[in-house]
Amino acid sequence: MNIAQSFANYLETITGSTLGQTLFIGQAPSSNKAPDDLWWIITSGGTPILDAVTGEMVKQYSIEVYHRSRNYKSVYDLQQDLEITLNCSRCVELQDFEIVSIRATAFPIDSDLDDEDRKIALIQVDLTAYEDCIDIS
């Protein structure tokens, strides 16, 4: 399982969102096809920072978690709750990844350019994780 899928699965469990319906990987779908209350994540990285002689690696990832809704208070509360949870490395469990360190930064909430009444929150997550060797053959 890759980091985006693994993180999305984790996010599903703590936000109550559903992958493919209210939670998306890579981008938010077109506004008229999706509900206002939506999560999406964009992942980058996978930079190896440490490799073991046995082949396993410690890699660094950057994950951007976006959440939008019409209710500013709910967007703010969820963003703050998520930031607290993500800054607790023993609270986060990702399938196929063992977390070495995790840091989350919450940014100011802003209006959606497509719809002034809709607010968007962003949390940037820096993740360092240990990965087993996976044989895809």
Binding site: R103, L113, Q124
Partner: protein
Amino acid sequence: MSSVRVIDYTPKIIAQVRTKGSLAIRRALQDALRISRPTTPKADTNFLRNNTKIQVLGNKGKVAWLASYAQYQERGRRADGSRVVRNYTTGGTGKQFAEKAMKQVDKQRSKYLKGLIK
């Protein structure tokens, strides 16, 4: 036997640079709007000048002119090259009002970081 205590402030600094960087982007975009305003074509309503929006999320920022004809005015012609604007009724206004403002902002980018990172 002596011991050494090492405190790693890297995460704190990274978080500070990110949040302050976000603020600097907002400052820059607000300045871009201010710079562009006198050169933005206007009719009696000022609709193009007044309908703008800034969005800053993390280290990415966007400034948008929301009038449906904004891109036509920015280009000074249609996308296919036709209907070139030949005369701007308000002196000093013209095409590329957004591009010129952004270029000016880019030249003085250190100004927006001033006082933010200590």
